[in-house]
């Protein structure tokens, strides 16, 4: 790639006492992309988020945003960042409008300029009729929308969001993602979002999977999934361990035991091998198979394939 990186992170490490939370992590973002950071709890993604948002000190490594170094110009970085925290950062006793005005003042906006910007965002996020309502009277989905509007108020060049859809119902989640995609396209804002939800991760342009402070992989969701070209068979059995041995013996397959069920990745070069194998397994062990499913690989399968563990902790 010839374009210089917009956000560049190099050999970033972070320790909490003895524990290494991030281990020489390097990656970069191109301007205008939606970049997903996927990882289970304890993977280091929240640490990374807190360092980026300037809440945690930069211990080791470098972070540069559009040429500004986080180590040497905190205030400069802060002016360029829009942040949406996982836990609410709105004052619930204040109205939506008051929250947005305070936020504007923190970024040097005031008077007519601020009023116009609030108006603009309120109409974009369809909160214009709620500006005078106290935040505590808003639904969870609506509060999240206000949080995102708040993060965009000062026209940041990079918007970072930490699991923004936590606690939202599926509809509100979908809606929020539609807003994010619109903001990304219309305002050309680069977005970095952490998530532990696979379906959200698939909406990103590029995705980095993080596990135990290490980068597991980084690519487009499509390419990550196509690394597993075949399909995935999952077998539920009351005695999965014994069944695994028998399958290996009889069918020369190597099932892995993941989270109590057996998982078999079929070779990608034989499209028909999946259904065929399912039939063979059911025929060979009719009494031992409680249920069997055949599916296209998901990002969760990518994670299991690369780490040998299920995504949930």
């Amino acid at each position: 790639m010839t374009t210089p990186a917009f956000l560049s992170i190099e050999t970033l490490s972070h320790r909490y006492g003895e524990r290494l939370a991030l281990d020489r992590l390097s990656f970069s973002l191109q301007q205008g992309e939606i970049f997903g950071l996927l990882g289970p709890n304890g993977s280091g993604k929240t640490t990374l988020f807190r360092i980026l948002s300037t809440l945690l000190p930069l211990q080791d490594g470098t972070i540069t945003l559009d040429g500004i170094s986080l180590r040497y110009d905190l205030a400069g970085i802060r002016q360029h960042l829009g942040i949406v925290f996982q836990s609410p950062s709105l004052d619930k006793k204040l109205t939506v409008g008051e929250n947005l005005r305070h936020q504007g003042h923190l970024y040097g906006l005031y008077g007519r300029t601020l009023a116009k910007r609030i108006e603009e965002l309120a109409s974009k996020f369809k909160i214009d009729d709620r500006l005078k309502d106290k935040v505590e009277t808003l639904s969870g989905g609506l509060q999240r929308r206000v949080e995102v509007a708040k993060g965009l108020l000062h026209r940041p060049s990079l918007l970072i969001l930490d699991e923004p859809t936590t606690g939202l119902d599926p509809n509100a989640r979908l809606e929020l993602w539609n807003y994010l995609q619109e903001v990304n396209q219309r305002e050309k804002i680069t977005i970095l979002v952490t998530t532990h939800l696979m379906d959200e991760a698939e909406r990103c342009h590029r995705l980095m999977i993080l596990d135990r402070g290490l980068r597991v992989c980084l690519d487009t969701p499509h390419k990550l999934k196509s690394a597993l070209r075949g399909s995935v068979i999952t077998v539920q059995s009351s005695d999965a361990t014994a069944l695994a041995g028998q399958i290996t013996e009889k069918l020369s397959l190597k099932p892995s035991l993941v989270g109590g069920s057996l998982r078999i990745e079929t070779p990608g070069d034989q499209a028909e091998s999946g259904p065929k194998l399912v039939a063979q397994i059911v025929a060979a062990f009719p009494d031992k198979v409680d249920s069997i499913t055949l599916s296209q690989p998901t990002l969760e399968d990518v994670f299991i394939h690369l780490t040998g563990r299920r995504f949930e902790n």
């Binding site: 929240t46 923190l106 040097g108």
Partner: protein
């Protein structure tokens, strides 16, 4: 490389200190006025203290050099005023503990404003709340026979603000490094209440044991109390023999407030390094 959506604002003193201080200050006041239970909470217990202890002591109390008819309710009035301001200031800083990790303060801490503006906004906010509560209680003074000194009211307001500012700074200093509000309550009982008890609020230092006298002498709250007594009680009774003159009290209070403001700003300036 330039960004497609450049940030339109340049960093100036107005943008990074004045405007954010004002916005955080006004937020404190608006929040407080919307939570009626806080207004009542910080007033009710000190007033009850004052009334029960004051009426209980009745006439069995007699301060040295005080005129006939000088009651304990009158003696205890400035001390209660101090307690109300202490409670208000302290309660306004408890929110820092939770707000910083999951609340409004997260957004404030990651904004490009000067860290001093964060502290100033909070302290001016807490001082204003203390001032409001103190004025409400002051309105009750005539009930006990203490006249409201109308002529020196602007000076009294400034004094209330100064005391409130110092007390809020003290609360900020305790709250900032803490992880839980339980810890704050423990410290409050262990440090702040004894500090108030040993300020001369309940009893005159003249008759106390030597070490108590020393603690009172070194206690910044004592100077707030001495100043309050000077402006409120002196019209009806002779000043306490051990009280320093007003200019010294105010000087100590200013020094106390400025020093704590410096320490609070320094604390806030350090990026936190805790486990998320």
């Amino acid at each position: 490389m330039s960004t497609s959506t450049p940030s339109p604002v340049t960093a100036s003193f107005f943008n990074t200190v004045t405007l954010p201080t004002w916005t955080l200050w006004s937020r404190e006041v608006v929040r407080f006025l919307r939570q009626k239970n806080r207004v009542i909470g910080a007033l009710a217990s000190p007033i009850m203290f004052w009334f029960v202890i004051g009426a209980g002591m009745g006439k069995s109390f007699h301060a040295e050099g005080a005129p006939e008819g000088f009651t304990y309710l009158q003696y205890f009035f400035p001390g209660t005023l101090m307690l109300i301001m202490l409670f208000t200031a302290i309660f306004s800083t408890i929110s820092i503990i939770e707000d910083r990790r999951e609340g409004f303060l997260q957004g404030v801490l990651t904004s490009p404003i000067s860290r001093s503006a964060i502290v100033l906004g909070k302290l001016c906010g807490g001082a204003t709340l203390s001032l409001i509560q103190a004025l409400i209680f002051l309105a009750m003074a005539p009930l006990t026979g203490i006249p409201i000194p109308w002529a020196s009211l602007p000076g009294i307001i400034a004094l209330f603000f100064l005391i409130g500012f110092g007390l809020t700074a003290l609360g900020y200093l305790i709250a900032w490094p803490l992880d839980s509000t339980q810890g704050f309550h423990a410290l409050m009982n262990l440090v702040l209440i004894p500090l108030w008890l040993l300020s001369g609020a309940l009893f005159p230092p003249t008759g106390a044991m030597t070490w108590v006298k020393w603690v009172i002498f070194l206690n910044p709250l004592h100077y707030g109390l001495a100043a309050l007594r000077q402006v409120l009680i002196s019209p009806i009774a002779a000043p306490e023999a051990s009280d320093p003159p007003l200019w010294i009290s105010v000087g100590v209070l200013i020094l106390f407030a400025v020093t704590l403001l410096g320490i609070c700003s320094w604390l806030t300036n350090r990026v936190q390094g805790r486990n998320p």
